[in-house]
């Protein structure tokens, strides 16, 4: 029988309870207790006065954010070996931070897992209603919902078949079961190809967008057109060769005119004009992110007002 509590990460002695052996009572009791605890905490939060609720959320935000601030700013232990103990309190904090990271990340993943359910519920509600009411293009909604159920089933069955001792054997296609072929057909043959098709559409969109952007309507558009033209031409071997021959006719290898080869102009444009501009924008974005992160961490942000 298929073990529905199969996990991707094998448990070890130091693993938390959610990594207990599959199907063990330890795991089931742990999940049940954690669920009850979570519901209890949410109930308590809802019972708290509205004013204090904000402070509770702010406190948790500060603690969670504080961990990541420490993670990024606290020095990392150098040359740490698996059995090492910290030599002083400073290094003790370092060890604690790096050991806690997988657990804190797991919390984030669990939360995201719960929220994914809400997202799928939204998808089903929108498309289910369209099917029930037989609205325009309802058949596409049916295809979407049928595909999602089918892929969830086939994907899990395929993954499950690859667990255990026989898993490595499936690296050889000769050992595949029908479910592995089904997964390969729908995922690799269907979804991945459709992804690639959507990606390739960009080529046509680039053409139409470039046509509009390069029309000479203003001084800025003209400068853009000229620089883009130089960069495009400098990447075309025939043009660069012809241009270089012309330059060589005008002067020898040390002549001033050699500065005007297409490659040199392109390098100057990208290194002297483009890169500093992008770095300038990056600085702005970085500082903006920092300020935004600070406001969120300290709960100074009043969103939606």
């Amino acid at each position: 029988m298929m073990d529905l509590l199969a996990q991707a990460t094998p448990p070890s002695d130091s693993s938390p309870f959610w990594s207990a052996p599959n199907g063990s009572s330890h795991l089931v009791i742990g999940i049940g207790a954690a669920l009850l605890l979570g519901i209890g905490l949410i109930f308590l939060l809802l019972q708290a006065p509205v004013r204090s609720r904000r402070w509770i959320v702010a406190l948790f935000t500060f603690l969670a954010g504080g961990y990541y601030v420490l993670y990024f700013f606290w020095p990392t232990a150098i040359d740490r070996q698996p059995n090492d103990l910290p030599r002083n309190p400073m290094e003790g904090v370092t060890f604690w931070i790096s050991d806690a990271f997988p657990i804190v990340s797991t919390f984030t993943n669990v939360l995201a897992g719960f929220l994914l359910g809400l997202g799928i519920y939204s998808l089903w509600r929108v498309h289910g209603r369209r099917i029930v009411k037989q609205q325009k293009d309802w058949f596409f909604s049916f295809v979407l919902l049928a595909s999602s159920v089918m892929m969830a089933f086939i994907g899990y069955a395929d993954w499950h078949s690859r667990q255990g001792l026989n898993g490595p054997l499936l690296a050889n296609k000769a050992n595949w079961h029908p479910i592995n072929y089904a997964f390969d057909f729908f995922f690799e043959g269907g979804l991945q190809q459709m992804d690639a098709a959507m990606f390739s559409i960009i080529a046509f969109f680039i053409l139409s967008a470039a046509y509009r952007a390069f029309r000479i309507r203003s001084v800025e558009a003209t400068v853009l057109l000229a620089t883009a033209l130089v960069v495009i031409l400098s990447l075309m071997g025939v043009i660069t060769n012809a241009w270089q021959s012309g330059i060589n006719h005008l002067g020898g290898p040390d002549a001033f005119v050699q500065n005007f080869s297409l490659d040199t102009i392109r390098t100057w444009l990208t290194n002297t004009v483009q890169t500093p501009s992008i770095r300038g924008i990056d600085f702005g974005i970085g500082i903006g992110s920092l300020a935004m992160g600070l406001r969120l961490w300290l709960s100074l942000e009043r969103t939606g007002s």
């Binding site: 070890s12 002695d13 130091s14 700013f73 020095p75 150098i78 040359d79 740490r80 070996q81 698996p82 059995n83 090492d84 103990l85 030599r87 002083n88 400073m90 370092t94 050991d99 995201a112 809400l118 997202g119 799928i120 939204s122 998808l123 509600r125 929108v126 293009d137 979804l191 459709m194 992804d195 959507m198 990606f199 559409i201 960009i202 969109f205 680039i206 139409s208 967008a209 509009r212 952007a213 300038g280 924008i281 990056d282 702005g284 974005i285 500082i287 903006g288 992110s289 920092l290 300020a291 935004m292 600070l294 406001r295 969120l296 100074l300 942000e301 009043r302 969103t303 939606g304 007002s305």
Partner: protein
Amino acid sequence: MGAQYLDTGWIAEAFTAMLVLFVLFNIWRAENAGKTGKEVYIRRIPGLNAIDEAVGRATEMGRPVIMVPGLPDYVDAIVVQAMNIFTYVTRIAARFSNPILVCCYNASVFTVAQEMIRDVYQQEGAIERYDQDSVRFISDRQFAFAAGVSGLILREQAAATFFLGNFYAESLILAETANSVGAIQVASSTQNTQTPFFIAACDYVLIGDEFYAASAYLTRQPVLVGSLVGQDWAKISVITMVLLGLLTTSIQIQGKTEMEKVASGPSKGTFAHVQVLSNPADPKSPMVDGPPRQMTVADTFMYRMLNPLPRDIKFHDEKAGTFERPQKPATNPATAAGGGQ
């Protein structure tokens, strides 16, 4: 040859602390602007004028406004920023009973967006006009999402689209599709590689940190305005440091020099430029090309922070940066392994 370590010293930590102080100080300044009578000024951003125009046009045409808060993996600062702008757009749309659609790539963003949009309708006293399906989870696969949103833009004949947040290769697919239905487009991507695509295809683009300035300008909340001024102070500091760096690297240091550790005096333990001579006793002797002294792990600022009292440190190999630590008691060979990252 051992490993060579890069050490930014205390400057990186000090610089971050300075930015944080600038932001916090200006938030405090803006919060107290009423008491001191000194209003904090921020200039107008042209791209933001387009927001009212775009929503107004959508109302006239009776067609929806479509908003996409990028393609994040989770709710991050960029998503919150995008949602701040979307709440402003939604507020105007709610006043004019204009339909909206928020398309989400990530389920956690979807739940946050749903709450924020419903709050806006509630604050505007128009909760009966709030459509639960106006915030939709589309897909968490990049091109499935692009296909889904493009389909919505075409089917709903969107009058205005707002693409704000983290966008990647799908940016042009979305922008060109919206352009094909004649929608007014306001866009911004924190990914520099996508900004040119938005500039080519959209009507208004918020470039770089204008994206972060938008909510401050639109809402005029003291916290946001103060934070924005703090950001500007930080940018001025960065520009000053760039100019100082330009100046110092432009001044040529005569002769061959190397970085050496100062052995005594107030700068003991720090690194300084020293001239390398063939005969150290004779300052007029010619300079030589000796092997440069490498900075070891023990010289880095981070290492010194971790080991404020370095007397107990014993190295296996100082240059390679491997040294001795006390060991966990090996009670069970099966559990002794593990721990280190």
